[in-house]
Amino acid sequence: MYDNEMRLEFLSKSSNEAFARITVAAFAAQLDPTIEELADIKTAVSEAVTNSIIHGYENMEGIIKIKGRIIKNTVELEISDTGKGIENVELARKPLYTTKANLERSGMGFTIMESFMDEVEIDSVLGLGTKVIMRKKIKKHIEDLDEILSVGGVC
């Protein structure tokens, strides 16, 4: 069972990129992440959502869904579109690989998701859509350690 779960659905408009990453960050905040961990999550969400908008739906209107879950200390995010899908997922993951260089894309989206999150799974079917599942474990903080130590009577 999950400790918490949320769902978000919105139109594939670029103005929703900020909405999506801020909302997910607010959900993840209950795990008490550091500012850096929160920035990592926001960036990864921004990358996946932007990909759905420009590659999945190619700027046409569609629905993007995000499922967020908290399982112990881990946030799990599932970001999906029903757009055109990825032909070659292995190639798409490669740094600098982009099919839209004309739009000044850098091809660094998946590389950033992979380095900022602990796990990134890509599930894509040509013509049906793409689902990106990412997980990140939020580390315990000093305050929690203090609590553990005091409960143990070490103090």
Binding site: S14, E17, A18, R21, E47, L103, E104, S106
Partner: protein, 107 residues
Amino acid sequence: MNINYEKKDKLLIVEITEEIDHHAVEKIRRKVDDGITRYMPRKTIFDFSRVTFMDSAGIGMIIGRYKMMKLIGGSLEIVNISSTVKRILEMSGINKIIPLEGKKEVV
């Protein structure tokens, strides 16, 4: 964002005040390109001191402006970047072609 041209030194100074994502980049690109073609600066300086967020859309935007400045025989520089933004720029290898100056860094 704020754009200023310093005529004396032929510097185009671009202070970015918004979060840099795919949405914001379209406007930034349009305005900066406008400034570059109008003033033909010797150097364009991006001031990132107010940038709190940037994703890979920023990489493409910066490389695009770098190419444009190169085309007119000028250069590009980024100053006051935060550690989070720096991490993303370094991942792309941009730091090998464009000088990045973090405020806290003493070079």
